[in-house]
């Protein structure tokens, strides 16, 4: 019973194919994510790393297999409610044509997040500094930020919802080395300081410096543990 409670996410025998494709992207995939874990899935482009994360928050639908979140099949939870608990940050950060502050508070305008308390302006400004966005003001247009700044803002926006699990889809793939280092540092601090459970995918050789991570490799349609 205790073991089951500490499993935040359990993926069992998962398989996914694109419509009309001859072979599945992956099959017989199992993965357990414990509360507070920092898990990295590596693999070459096209091996299905992003798809794996998207399946965990129902942005895609698997043909076979079950995903349990806190012991419950994710298809039994309303999609919006599930996604308010499992936050997915896409590879290419997306902002709406609004200010930085409005973009950060966007999740609180959705019904599934209405019971969550939106942070104050002061709290947002403090957080901007934590996310290496000191020069960015809440009133400026979010669309005018650099890709690196947008990515940090996207992670910050996801954090504000206080999710139980963060899914980070190649968060540094579009960034220069300096911006990528900032994002990696943020990811590690989220895990150590905020006890955030993180499941990230990357094709880089990034090795966390301050956290104990579990590393997997996704290749040949299978997921294997490479580094415990």
């Amino acid at each position: 019973m205790h073991a089951a409670m500490t499993h935040l996410l359990e993926i069992q025998n998962l398989a996914f194919s694109w419509p009309g494709a001859e072979f599945p992207v992956f099959e017989h995939l199992d993965l357990t994510v414990r509360e507070g874990a920092f898990i990295l899935v590596r693999g070459a482009s096209g091996t299905g790393k992003s798809t794996l994360l998207r399946l965990c928050c129902r942005l895609n639908r698997p043909q076979v297999g079950v995903i349990l979140f806190r012991g419950r099949n994710i298809v039994e939870t309303a999609p919006a409610v599930l996604r308010s608990m499992i936050s997915y940050v896409a590879q290419i950060p997306q902002m709406t044509d609004m200010t930085v502050g409005e973009n950060l508070l966007l999740p609180f305008s959705f019904a599934a997040n209405r019971n969550k308390i939106a942070p104050s302006e002061e709290a947002l400004e403090q957080m901007l500094a934590e996310f290496y966005l000191e020069g960015v003001s809440l009133g400026q247009s979010a669309l005018k930020l650099s890709t690196g700044q947008k990515q940090r803002l996207a992670i910050m926006r996801a954090i504000l919802q206080q999710p139980d699990l963060m899914l980070l889809d190649e968060p540094t793939s579009a960034l220069d080395p300096e911006s990528a280092a900032m994002v990696f540092s943020i990811m590690e601090r989220l895990n150590t300081e905020r006890k955030m459970t993180i499941l990230g995918v990357t094709h880089s050789d990034y090795r966390p410096e301050t956290v104990v991570a579990l590393a997997y490799r996704l290749e040949n349609r299978r997921l294997t543990l490479t580094d415990a």
Partner: protein, 261 residues
């Protein structure tokens, strides 16, 4: 004064001068429209004459069944035209669009013919069928524009819609902007028509009534009813169709089903 001047066949053929002008323009400037202009002119000629004979027959029989049959043919034809313009394979939009058109057009025609004009019976073909014709003609274009716009924007803005979904939005919240832009795009021609009527153009129905000897003040009242009817029925049909079809753009997990082309 109230006697309408008939147009003889030679006089009617004289109107083909305008088609010749269009054909010459296309030919001189290589617009590639000659075939379409010819087909369009022939279809206008054939379809309107056919409609004229059908209407003469139906007005003579005063049959409810025949009136409803004409209504069914008009809606089915409108659906085919919409389907021809909206080439979408991933979302099944045809059936809900057809059913919505059927119900809302019928309700609008009954309301205008039976309640506002107050004909007896409510399906009096002389009022019921032209009313339907105007409603369907306007609303059909609005639906086609709105559907095209929604499918296109849903693909173009897929990443933004998914970003909102990932942040806890339900499918309605995530696609709110796409939905509003699509309905607005469909409605704008009807609203513009209300702005310009009487100033920029004299609508066909009013012109027809005046030409046939009706008091212009009576024709104006009819035209006001028609303009309001067109905006209302276009809004109602577009919104119902968009609400149903938007839901179909998402799967059971509220995931976006439309993939890039």
């Amino acid at each position: 004064m109230n006697q309408i001047i008939d147009i003889s066949i030679p006089q009617l053929l004289l109107a083909f001068v305008f088609i010749l002008i269009a054909q010459a323009s296309s030919f001189i400037y290589h617009l590639g429209l000659n075939r379409d202009i010819s087909v369009g002119a022939l279809r206008t000629f054939a379809q309107l004459f056919l409609m004229g004979y059908v209407l003469t027959f139906i007005l003579g029989t005063q049959s409810l069944l025949l009136t409803l049959a004409v209504f069914a043919v008009m809606v089915v034809s409108a659906m085919f035209i919409v389907r021809g313009r909206v080439k979408e394979k991933q979302v099944a939009y045809v059936l809900p669009t057809f059913l919505t058109m059927l119900v809302t057009y019928f309700a609008t025609a009954v309301f205008v013919s039976g309640f506002i004009v107050g004909t007896t019976p409510w399906w009096e073909p002389r009022y019921f069928i032209p009313t339907l014709g105007m409603v369907i003609g306007n609303s059909m274009s609005a639906i086609a524009i709105a559907l095209e716009r929604m499918f296109r924007d849903m693909r173009v803005q897929r990443d933004v819609v998914e970003m909102k979904l990932a942040l806890g939005a339900n499918y309605r919240e995530a696609s709110d902007e796409v939905f509003r832009n699509a309905v607005t795009a469909g409605m704008i021609p009807s609203i513009n028509a209300m702005m310009g009527v009487g100033l920029v153009f004299i609508p066909g129905m009013m012109s027809g009534q005046i030409l046939s000897g009706t008091d212009p003040l009576v024709a104006i009242r009819y035209q006001i009813v028609v303009m309001f009817m067109l905006v209302g029925s276009t809004a109602l049909t577009s919104i119902i169709v968009m609400l149903i079809v938007r839901k179909r753009c998402f799967g059971s997990g509220e995931e976006v089903l439309l993939t890039p082309r």
